[in-house]
Symmetry: C2
Subunit: 171 residues, 2 copies
Amino acid sequence: MGKLHEPLNDMQNCGLPAALEVMGERWSFMILRAGFNGLHHFEEFLSTLGIARNILSNRLARLVEHGIMKRQALPEDRRKIEYRLTAKGLDLLPAMLALRQWGEKYGEGVPSNPVLCDERDGQPIALIGINAHDGRRLGYMELEWRDVADVGKPAMQYEDVLVKPELSVLR
Amino acid sequence: MGKLHEPLNDMQNCGLPAALEVMGERWSFMILRAGFNGLHHFEEFLSTLGIARNILSNRLARLVEHGIMKRQALPEDRRKIEYRLTAKGLDLLPAMLALRQWGEKYGEGVPSNPVLCDERDGQPIALIGINAHDGRRLGYMELEWRDVADVGKPAMQYEDVLVKPELSVLR
DNA sequence: CGATTTGCGTTGCTAAATGCTACCTACCTT
DNA sequence: AAGGTAGGTAGCATTTAGCAACGCAAATCG
């Protein structure tokens, strides 16, 4: 029971706080979503999001600062600034979709239209989930945190299971 | 070009704002993470997260209110309140892991230890990503938003591609 | 050219959220 | 009853968000 909480002592050793430093701020995800949907300009974000100008300005600056978007003045009209997702920003798509899917599943009156599809066959994408290295879909029950030293060892042969994610849904 | 932004007009028709209503608040994700790691009590959250008491109280109340956690006084000691993730809360694991993985990938000095593993073979889980219904891994380029009416139609045979997620990484 | 519009951003002020510390109350232990 | 524990409130300082007005350079119009 003492060992159970060990990984939480060094909370900063987790990618989550790092991710939330930028994306945890209000509007960041909505701006990201707008970026994914083809918006690139200040006034576009402003009018579609319903965010205040100064906040939008600040958020865009922070996203650029953190390398999630890049800022570029258009050569043909140098008033126009193009905000565009970087590779780092594009890498947030799975996280955003997972959140969106969760919101759709539990939200009230979310019509789920349009639907994100595989362009090849036009079928909706699968629910974002957790997969093993070989592609098997994994449930909560099949997961455990392991020290890097114990990775790959067969079950119950390694030193310590540090934390098993919350398994007791039913209690 | 006119049709391109249409889905953004009804932004509320998206699961993302719904998800962010609770999970977009500061500390919500960190509390969730703590819950996933076996913490159940107020003082546990308080000491491991470094959050203020009143904020923690408020956040827990909101998570309970939204059905993400449930609140139960223990019969053997009715001072003790057990906060436990519900099925709805557990369903946020993919979103949380996707965020965490992103933070690990781009964060500075995030040691990625411990590692979340498949207990069966002890191998780390795959990166959370976007899959087609048949399990093929999909990249940004292979995705498009479709009206529900056009789902399943072969490529370029349906009425309108509404929005193609940001494809031009290279511009 | 000068006047006006456009695109983006800043400034000043108000409201709301957060954080800190101290306090409160029920319950358990002795 | 006395004292400690678990969870939660209350008051006040600080930070962040929201709103409206202004600034300003680049484009466009007459």
